[in-house]
Symmetry: C2
Amino acid sequence: MVSSNHENAKQSPASPKRQRGKIVGFALRLKELGKDDPRKIIHSFKVGLALTLVSLFYYFKPLYEGFGLAAMWAILTVVVVFEFSVGATLGKGLNRMLATLTAGALGIGAHRLATLSGETGEPILVALFVFIIAGIVTFLRFIPQIKARYDYGMLIFILTFCLISVSGYRDEEVIEMGFERLSTVVLGSCASVVVCTFICPVWIGVDLHNQIATNIEKLGIFLEGFGDEYFKISEDGQPINKSSSLQRYKTVLTSGSKEESMANLARWEPCHGKFRFRHPWNEYLKVGNVTRQCAFKIESLNNYLTSEIQSPPEVRNIIKGECTVISSECGKALKELASAIRKMIESSAAEPHISNSKAAAEKLKSVIRSSFSKHRDYLEIIQAGAVASLLFEVVKCTEEVADAAQKLASLAHFKNAKPRVTSEKQELSSQEAVKQVSGINAAHHVITINSSQSLPGSENSKRLDCRICRLCKKPLTWL
Amino acid sequence: MVSSNHENAKQSPASPKRQRGKIVGFALRLKELGKDDPRKIIHSFKVGLALTLVSLFYYFKPLYEGFGLAAMWAILTVVVVFEFSVGATLGKGLNRMLATLTAGALGIGAHRLATLSGETGEPILVALFVFIIAGIVTFLRFIPQIKARYDYGMLIFILTFCLISVSGYRDEEVIEMGFERLSTVVLGSCASVVVCTFICPVWIGVDLHNQIATNIEKLGIFLEGFGDEYFKISEDGQPINKSSSLQRYKTVLTSGSKEESMANLARWEPCHGKFRFRHPWNEYLKVGNVTRQCAFKIESLNNYLTSEIQSPPEVRNIIKGECTVISSECGKALKELASAIRKMIESSAAEPHISNSKAAAEKLKSVIRSSFSKHRDYLEIIQAGAVASLLFEVVKCTEEVADAAQKLASLAHFKNAKPRVTSEKQELSSQEAVKQVSGINAAHHVITINSSQSLPGSENSKRLDCRICRLCKKPLTWL
């Protein structure tokens, strides 16, 4: 009874212990939020700073008398225009300034027309103007291209037009009001843009760039781990729990709309760091799309990790070696691509991995042709066959990602990676290494020398030293 | 030369013909936009109307003198609060009113504190308050739960607090200003909500409801058509162009974030039509998620429609019959589920289709066991095997969608569907029909009688008449 009462007391919503727990939980969540992305804390300080600056500007009497009541538009502008990233702030600021300018001019014209029509005609004309302009501009906001970049400007256009044309002042007063409004909006926008850009700026273009690279990397991590994870099941015959590090690719499946809005905002950003003003943001979206196509295939592969129907271990062992190589080589290729994008270099480091995965795919085909015949239960084969078939698709996808990344690198003028002359190391399967020495799959004349011929069967990858002379194209050192 | 000049003239950007073409193109796009969703035109009129009403309210002197300059806040409120759907407008309106109330009260308090501290302390305290409040509230906006529903309120909170606390008036004036601001904001919000709700309302909850149903239907359409489309290839040996009607499911892959924001807005909507205030919107998201899981599998299936590597026709013909049945029965089940959700009824019409697809899946397994052995090239088999394996997954997915839809139906109190007594027809495979007569898979005691025993092998589905007496549960007519 006591324990039950105790529990009831615990569960009662009014319990002070529970309330305290909630508050502590909330505080911990806030701390976590700040830890995850400290830029959020800095952003909050920046908003506070910009508002304080503009408020003081408004507060001090001499300035206050100069701008009059319209000065509060400066505060309002800072509150609504100041966004997390430079692109968003700049886009909103420019939208707001341009819309205030054009709508102000149009509003003054409408106001003048209305006053000319006399006492009775004035309210009718004003109402008509407001109705027509608000209706038309609201409809224009539905056009996708306008919605993507000028939605906020359209909103401010309606707002300013209504406020100016409706105001019951005389003409000179209206012109003065329009000028005041415009100057305070410009003041507020500029304050926001300056604080946002010059104090720890968050460039949404850089974020998009990194997100595209991270997404490719997440797929790479899955593929590198998939082989081990899938064939681990075969050893004890039971499907295992999905490893959480492998599941990070899931976010790629749904990142499309976020990437698009990021690209729309990035277009507003001026030249910064290695990013030009007209950086090819569209190419990032294309890379993002092929990455997502690849993620859909990986989602199917992932299903086989926990599928109830599993091919028996003896069937899976047949394809284990080649499947692991395909998957890990595709994973390495994707990780190389991600790293090249992140560093903004034009690199061909992914090419040998793609070649390796293609060679392993061909070998897997012949393994399937020759070895599956030993098994009589065809139902047992199809599960493993489906995994193999998906891996073939993944190889194709990886190539598509590489092509898209290559196009991005050339359009965005990424630097050429320096030929790897020194002790940089590259992982290659021993077979491929031999092929590359004979020049068949040689990429950029990288000569690879196998340091050891005796490698374990299924994990036949080995660190190799690659050295080349940049002038005579001959190997520098034979290790 | 003449023709070349003519072409040059055509291509010049300043060419009047080209300009006219652009304008005509733009007008046509606008027309298309209005045709696609006439509610967008109505919405534009509604915004115009609400603004005209509030503008006239502001324009006429008696009211204008009553509210003073603060009356322009009513116009401003309408412009920013009026959204396409009732949920969004109501959410923004409530956010704005509540934020203005609380921030106004806090702002008056801050202003009073500041004035108490004397001439020199006042600006310092005001600046400090603005900095702290703006910083804290900006940081709170990053919390996902707050961002989802109260983001706009937080913004207005900062805005109102700054404007009230910074204003250089005396205390009484500040209180009066706060009251004016609040009353005009309430006026603007109410005008928006009334016009939005009572003139052709757009309920975002209804949109979400329909979108979830439409998404399930799109998958159903794909699956119904997939069998024919996939095995059509086998007849001429060449992959065919993807049929555009089948490709409609692609939108389901990326609809997740849109569904989430729709559910967030729908939560603001009051009871309307068959939707209660606390309609289980979360369940819609769950149905949406399992639908998307199914769409990922369908994306993989779709790849096999245009895959370069195809199993030869003789291999595919082995599985043609069962695969077509699985795919079309799953398709029918999904379409039934979509139709039940759309009509808001608790129906079991999908159950027989799911049973059929499961039975066909079992049969397919035995077909694969027995017939694949005739083929020696195992590489040729795996493609067809992968399709079969994906179809097994699709059956599982369809069941999951059915379960989620069932849970939604019970939580949202959908009506029970009337037993189908009259000449309703149901498509069933002949085998399943016999099973249902014997009562094994009988759903709601629907007795089905096979009208013909001689059915063609692969397309063994036939329209059957199902009649039943509601009292004695015995068949009414034996055809």
